[in-house]
Symmetry: C2
C-alpha cells in the first residue's frame, strides 16, 4: 500500500499538519531538524503525494485541457492542430502545467463535454479551432469556467488567431503584382472562422482590385483531396480558367498542385498557387510552395498564457492577432501570356 502523510506522521509521532507543512515548505514554519526527519521518512517510505486529494481541497490542478473540436481522427493529423498543440505544450512546460487532451468531443453531447471539463481535472481549457456558436460555450460561461479559443471568435472568450486580413491581402497582392488577373480561391470550410474569414477577405480584396469573379471562388474544406478536385473543376474551363489560385491552406494547395499535374499542367508555368499556413511540407515539396506563414506555435503559446491569466485571476486577456508573412517560393510566377 502506498504511503501517505499519515504514515509519515505516525512513524515520527508528529501531526499530519507538520508533515504537510514540512513537505510543502510552508506556509507555516517547521524546524529544520523536523523537516529533515520528515523528508527522510518520506524517502524511506517512498512517499508520493496524491494530487487528486490535494486538488480536491485546493481546487487547482495545474493541468489545462485541450479540446480538439473536430473528430479527433480528422483534426489531430493536420499541421494546424499539431502546430498549435505543440505551442501549447511547450508553453505549458514552461509554466509547469500538464496538458489533458479531451477526446470524444463530437461523440458525446455538448452536455457531457461540459461535464468532462468542469469535473475538476483541469483548471481551464484551450479550444482549438471550434465552431463559434457551440452551445457548449454558454454553458461553460455560466459556470465561469476559464477558457480561450484559437482560430475562431467566441463571444466573451479571448481569441488567438492569425491576421487573416493582411495575410490574404499579401497573397492576393503578390499574385496581382505578378500580373495575374484571373485569380481563383479554394476556400476552407465556410463554417469555420478561418474558412469564412479568408474567403470574405479574398472577395473584399479582389473586389477592390476590380478583379473579383464569383465563378472563381469554389468551396473547399482544407483537405488535400478537395484541393485535387478543385483543380479539376477550375482548370478545365478553357479560356476562362484562372491563371492563379489562392488556397485557404497548404494542404489544399498541395492537393491543387497535384490536381494540376494530373491535368498535365505545370506549376507555376501554367498556373500559380499560393497556400496559407507555411506547413512543413511547403518547403519540402517541389515546387516549393509560396504561402502565407502563420505562427502556429506562437498562437498556441499565446493561448496558453492567456488561459493562465484567466485562471490566475489576472483579468481577461485581450484578443491576440498574430501577424502573417508572405513566403515566396517556387509555386508562383507571372502568367504565361505576359512573358
Amino acid at each position: 500500500m502506498a504511503a501517505t502523510i499519515k504514515d509519515i506522521a505516525k512513524r515520527l509521532n508528529i501531526s499530519v499538519s507538520t508533515v504537510s507543512y514540512a513537505l510543502n515548505g510552508g506556509p507555516r514554519p517547521v524546524p529544520e531538524d523536523v523537516r529533515q526527519r520528515v523528508l527522510q521518512a518520506a524517502a524511506d517510505l517512498s512517499y508520493r503525494p496524491n494530487r487528486l486529494a490535494r486538488s480536491l481541497v485546493t481546487r487547482r490542478t495545474f493541468t489545462v485541457g485541450v479540446v480538439p473540436t473536430e473528430p479527433t481522427i480528422h483534426l489531430a493529423i493536420t499541421p494546424y492542430f499539431q502546430g498549435v498543440l505543440n505551442g501549447v505544450m511547450n508553453e505549458a512546460e514552461k509554466y509547469a502545467q500538464d496538458v489533458l487532451i479531451l477526446t470524444r468531443y463530437t461523440v458525446h453531447r455538448a452536455d457531457e463535454m461540459v461535464n468532462s471539463l468542469v469535473d475538476g481535472r483541469v483548471d481551464g481549457a484551450v479550444f482549438i479551432s471550434p465552431f463559434a456558436n457551440d452551445p457548449l460555450f454558454t454553458a461553460l460561461q455560466e459556470r465561469e469556467f476559464p477558457f480561450v479559443v484559437t482560430s475562431a471568435f467566441v463571444d466573451g472568450a479571448p481569441s488567438y488567431i492569425a491576421d487573416n486580413g493582411t495575410g490574404v491581402y499579401r497573397a492576393v497582392r503578390h499574385l496581382y503584382d505578378l500580373g495575374h488577373r484571373r485569380i481563383a480561391h479554394v476556400t476552407g470550410r465556410p463554417v469555420m472562422e478561418e474558412g469564412r474569414g479568408r474567403r470574405d477577405h479574398f472577395v473584399g480584396i479582389t473586389s477592390e482590385l476590380g478583379i473579383y469573379d464569383p465563378e472563381l471562388v469554389v468551396e473547399g474544406n482544407f483537405c488535400h483531396e478537395r484541393g485535387v478536385e478543385a483543380a479539376q473543376e477550375l482548370l478545365t474551363r478553357g479560356a476562362s480558367r484562372p491563371t492563379a489560385v489562392f488556397c485557404a491552406n497548404d494542404d489544399s494547395a498541395v492537393g491543387f498542385i497535384e490536381g494540376a499535374w494530373r491535368l498535365g499542367l505545370r506549376v507555376p508555368d501554367d498556373v500559380s498557387v499560393v497556400g496559407f499556413d507555411d506547413a512543413p511540407i511547403s518547403t519540402i515539396m517541389r515546387p516549393a510552395l509560396t504561402t502565407v506563414r502563420q505562427p502556429f506555435d506562437r498562437i498556441g503559446a499565446g493561448a496558453m498564457r492567456g488561459l493562465l491569466d484567466l485562471i490566475e485571476g489576472r483579468g481577461t486577456p485581450a484578443h491576440e492577432q498574430f501577424s502573417t508573412e508572405l513566403v515566396v517560393r517556387a509555386s508562383t510566377a507571372s502568367p504565361l501570356e505576359d512573358k
Copy 2:
C-alpha cells in the same frame, strides 16, 4: 458555488448514498420515482459530478498518461511522435479514456517524473520512444505502475515496435536488387532502439550480402539537418562514394536529398535514397521518397490497448511487433554505371 450530491440530498430530504446510486444507476437499486426526482434536482441545480473526488475513492481515472521522452519541443513535431500520439488518441476515444500529456520530462529529475505519474491522475502511461535504461522504469515497476513503451525495449514492459529487421532488409535488398553495391547508411540516434536497431540490422544484412563497408555508415540523429550534412560527408568522396543510401528515417532522408541537390547531384540518377517511416512528406516531395512504411497509428493504438489490458488486470500483454512494408517511389533507381 457548484452543487454537490449533498445539495441534492438535502433538497430532496434523502441520503447522499441514494443520490449517488440514483445518479450512477447502481450498484444498489433505486425506485424509479426517486431516481427521476434526483435527476430532476440534479438538472435544476446544474449538478456536475466531481471526478477528482470520485477517483480519489475508486482509484480509477479513466485517463492515461503519455510521456514524450525527449524534450517536448524536439519530439512533439516529429511525424513519428505525431503519428503515434494520433493512434493513442483515437484508440483512447474508443475506450472512453482521456489522454494526459506529461510535459517536463527532461527538465525535472526522474524522481519528480515518478511523482507526476503515480500521483493519481492517470491509471497508467504510454512512453513514446524512451531510453531503455531510464532509472524511472524500475521506480515505476516497484510501485506496480502500469505502463507500456513504443519503439523501445524496456525490461518487463510490453513493447510496441515496428519490425525493424525485415524493414531494413527490404530497404537494403531493394537497393541491392537494383544493382547497388556501395550502399551507405545514415543512422538514427544510436542511443535509441530505433537508431541502434536499424543500424545493427543494416550491418548484418550488408555483411551477409558481402557488401558491408564500415566507412559507409555515418552517425545521424533522425533530423533533417543531419541528413544534409551526411550527404555532404558521403557524396564528396570521389570514386569511393556510395551509389545509394538508406537513412534511418524519412526526415533525414529528405535532408540527404536536399544535401545531394546542393552538391549538384540528382536523385535518383546520381544517388538512390531510401527512408524509413512513410511520413506524410514522402509522398508529397519530389522525387517522392522510396521508404519503409511503419504503421504509426497502429503502434499507438496497440500500445493503448495493451496498457488497458494491464490497467484492467487482464494480465501482461505480449510484445507486439508491427510489420513494415517497402513503398517504392521515385527516389531509387539502378546506379548509373549499370545503365
